[in-house]
């Protein structure tokens, strides 16, 4: 790539930024490792390379095991997502229920689902694969559902002219329209699958990257811990890049947004809408309770650990210790939320601002994106303890972990949104020679909002996952610790109560963001509201 003449000092070629940033980061890292030598905190690149060289066979075998489970989970999870999206589309009446159940399962905390899966599967890689699948299916399902609808109405008219129905719509239009969305969903899914497989190993496995990580942390083997984290992130980054390249190969750049006049559909009166919402919420609760009870009975799960809805109700409401149980649960919940909410907001703000920065300063993207991908790809199970060690056990550590987990998907989504600004709008601004900042604020930011809100919704479960994982593995407070603790106290009613509380919180927060989204988009981006 050759720098274009006269483009000014800012327009350095991308590779200068990229390699410069990479080298600077490596140098800083090595310096930090040298400076803290003997404190068992940071291993620099040279120590990591040395560890990998000496233990190449061991790490290679572990990687193969974990990668295999992650890949299987990735495939299964994404196939499930595609199937769910197609069903939701073909049976529109069921779409809300499918989406709600899909979200609910995605909101179940890993700390709690892991051991339950282990009991269900027994020995083997079942939990690893299932957790990997659970970690990915929702981040594919949601964009896919949007993508399957992202085709101009005229195309559907054409299909209908030929007397074809929904199936033909799906096969001839929607699937093609959805490919770019699918690819971006898969990109986010790849690191998540690896994390799911590693957490699965924590439930009892003989080999794999998760097993080696636990061992390295316990053995105070800092180079080992960092080397394993590096390998895990390297794999995640490569899968992210490979999927992106595959997307480009397929020629699937997300299309420009479709400009369409605001739909003049008459909205039912507010009271009826509220009633409809309430009805759905009640319906969802009934379905969930029936599924919960039914699945446990169906699988014949022992009530010692597989608590039914009535057990949780008794634990929180009717037994003599109910008040104490509630106090313990809510106390831990407050500890978690105090950290999860600021981390969530900080992550969203950071993601959106970086995206804006990347648009304003063209070279910045080349420098920021690889670092962002790397940060996001390091499995949280290895970063959480390291970050807490580096930033302290106070609020900062956990908030940072939450923000790190969230900012990358937000950044990617916002960048896509910014770049999708309709050409006609940008042409208009260009005609008036509007400055870059004005273009950003008046044209691109409104175009970004739908993507931003989609990211903000997805970030809700991610924030809770990050906060509880940090609490479980590093800080030892809050819901994450409470859930992990139930294994030693056999207080499985507490575990299920915690699951209910966390999942309900995630669902409500998700619905809250959705409500805000509708309000904002009605004003700022009425032409691109998703159907």
């Amino acid at each position: 790539m050759i720098a274009r003449a006269g483009a000014g000092p800012r327009a350095l070629p991308g590779w200068v930024w990229r390699w410069g940033a990479l080298l600077a980061a490596l140098a800083l890292w090595e310096a930090a490792g040298q400076a803290t030598a003997g404190r068992f905190l940071i291993a620099g690149p040279s120590e990591i390379a040395d560890y990998l060289w000496t233990n190449a066979g061991l790490v290679g075998r572990a990687l193969a095991v974990t990668l295999q489970a992650a890949t299987a989970g990735f495939l299964l999870g994404n196939l499930a997502a595609m199937a769910l999206a197609c069903v939701a589309l073909l049976v529109p009446r069921m779409a809300w229920l499918i989406s709600a159940l899909a979200l609910l399962v995605f909101c179940l905390p890993l700390v709690a689902t892991g051991p339950i899966l282990r009991v269900l599967y027994g020995a083997g890689t079942g939990p690893q694969i299932t957790l990997a699948a659970l970690a990915v299916y929702y981040t594919t399902y949601l964009p896919l559902l949007v993508g399957l609808r992202a085709a101009p109405a005229s195309w559907f008219d054409l299909v209908h002219t030929y007397g074809q129905g929904r199936m033909a719509e799906l096969l001839r239009i929607r699937i093609h329209a959805a490919v770019p969305y699918l690819v971006s969903g898969l990109q986010i899914a790849a690191p998540a699958a690896f994390l799911g497989a590693m957490v699965g190993e924590f439930t009892g496995a003989e080999r794999g990257m998760g097993v080696l990580t636990i061992r390295a942390i316990g053995a105070l083997d800092v180079p080992g811990t960092w080397a394993l984290a590096t390998v895990a992130s390297g794999v995640s980054i490569m899968s992210y890049l490979a999927l992106g390249a595959l997307g480009r190969r397929l020629g699937t750049h997300p299309r420009d947004l479709l400009l369409a006049p605001p739909q003049a559909t008459r909205r039912p009166p507010a009271a009826r809408r509220a009633l409809g919402r309430l009805g759905r919420a009640v319906g969802l609760i009934i379905v969930v309770l029936l599924l919960w009870q039914g699945l446990m009975e169906g699988f014949g799960l022992n009530p010692f650990f597989a608590k039914r809805p009535a057990d949780v109700w008794a634990f929180l409401v009717t037994v003599p210790e109910a008040a104490a149980n509630r106090a313990l649960l809510l106390g831990a919940f407050a500890q978690t939320m105090v950290l999860a909410v600021p981390g969530y907001l900080a992550g969203l703000a950071l993601g959106a601002m970086l995206a804006a920065g990347v648009v304003l300063v063209p070279g910045l993207g080349a420098a920021v994106l690889p670092v962002a991908i790397a940060l996001r790809s390091v499995p949280i199970v290895t970063t959480a303890p390291l970050l807490v060690l580096a930033l302290g056990r106070g609020a900062t550590g956990t908030i940072t972990i939450v923000a790190v987990m969230i900012f990358f998907p937000t950044l990617v989504a916002c960048l896509t949104g910014l770049r999708q600004t309709p050409g006609q709008v940008m042409d208009l601004f260009a005609t008036y020679a509007a400055p870059r900042r004005q273009r950003l604020l008046l044209a691109q930011v409104p175009a970004m909002l739908p993507a931003f809100f989609a990211a903000a919704r997805m970030a809700v479960p991610a924030a809770l996952l990050a906060a509880t994982t940090a609490e479980w593995l590093a800080t030892g407070i809050g819901m994450g610790s409470l859930m992990a603790l139930t294994a030693s106290t056999s207080s499985y009613a507490m575990l299920w109560a915690a699951i209910v509380l966390l999942a309900s919180t995630a669902m409500l927060a998700y619905a809250g963001v959705e409500l805000l989204e509708r309000r904002v988009l009605r004003v700022y981006a009425s032409e691109q509201r998703q159907p």
């Binding site: 009991v119 316990g218 053995a219 010692f304 030892g476 610790s481 603790l485 106290t489 009613a493």
Partner: protein, 330 residues
């Protein structure tokens, strides 16, 4: 594990043969009964005796095919035993008491660790040699273990409010990097890790200061005790034989562990040291007189007292020595 995969062929070849020939050191002739032993942590020399039983075919000769299911930081131990997936689990008296309080029908049928492995680890520059030294110190531990510290304080007349508890992960780094003055951990893992990394350290074993609590206990359900007695006795017999060998040569047990689990990332020198440090917790005058895994009314009574300090009230029938007696007699 290739050691347990040949059962089918053996089943076909030997299934028709009659009497057990194990007394003569020959392989058992009856059909292999498949059971699982749920371990409480990842594979390591912590379970060295079980690996010896496995590799030397002690269980095989008793007609048992044992799967050793590893545990982990997020692994359930009691649920698989309750649900019958594992015949026996490796628990600890406090965990077992909690499970029983929550409705699990468990009995403790053997005690691998006579002395509880919990210890306070510190650095020589700022040592904790006795519970009184804890006053004014920052201790790194999982908050979940607060009752353990409370019990130690009560037993030794120390005011727990004079100790600052810092919630940490199970990791020696906070101590080494100076974030805390001491750690509540097992005698056999984090201190061993520090020693191996060249960090001089010292430990105060809580069992030496009144904290009497059986650890690495074998648990089974009352249902299994009633209906699968022969399997349970065979399992315990294999364990006894394996751990006898372990006591005789801990280094060999460490070597076997590393050989059996080449993908577990185990370091031989670390395993050797851990195996050595673990032995005094498992073997005592009591076990030398009565055999591995033994417990008496007195040790049970001491456990019940410690459990009461931990907020658990149990009766002596939580312990059942009959299987152990049969296994040692057989």
């Amino acid at each position: 594990m290739p050691l347990i995969t040949t059962s089918r062929r053996r089943f076909l070849a030997l299934g028709a043969a009659g009497l057990s020939a194990s007394a003569f050191g020959l392989r058992a002739a009856q059909a292999q009964s498949a059971v699982a032993l749920q371990l409480s942590w990842l594979h390591s020399v912590q379970f060295g005796g079980s690996y010896i039983a496995q590799s030397k075919g002690y269980w095989r000769d008793l007609g048992l095919e044992v799967a050793l299911n590893p545990g982990g930081p997020n692994a359930p131990v009691e649920p698989p035993v309750v649900s019958g997936q594992a015949l026996v689990g490796i628990s600890a008296a406090d965990y077992t008491a909690a499970a029983v309080a929550n409705g699990a029908p468990f009995r403790i049928i053997g005690v691998a660790m006579q002395k509880n492995p919990f210890a306070i680890a510190s650095l020589p520059g700022n040592p904790v040699n006795s519970p009184a030294d804890l006053v004014g110190k920052k201790i790194g531990m999982a908050l979940a273990n607060t009752p353990v510290l409370q019990a130690l304080c009560t037993l030794n007349g120390v005011d727990i409010t004079q100790i600052e508890i810092v919630p940490t992960q199970y990791d020696a780094a906070p101590l080494v990097s100076g974030q805390v003055d001491c750690l509540l951990c097992w005698q056999t893992d984090l201190p061993v890790a520090m020693t191996m990394q060249g960090v001089d350290n010292m430990t105060m074993l809580m069992a030496d200061h009144g904290y009497a609590l059986h650890s690495q206990t074998y648990i089974a359900t009352t249902d299994a005790l009633a209906n699968r007695r022969a399997d349970l006795v065979a399992l315990m017999k294999g364990e006894i034989m394996g751990w006898q060998d372990y006591e005789a040569d801990t280094a060999a047990a460490a070597q076997l562990t590393v050989d059996m689990f080449p993908d577990a990332g185990l370091d031989l020198a670390t395993q050797v040291l851990q195996a050595e440090r673990q032995a005094p917790l498992m073997f005592s005058d009591l076990t030398r007189a009565n055999g591995f895994g033994w417990f008496t009314d007195e040790t049970v009574a001491a456990n019940i007292e410690t459990l009461a300090l931990l907020g658990r009230s149990v009766t002596p029938d939580l312990w059942d020595r009959s299987l152990l007696e049969e296994a040692h007699a057989a």
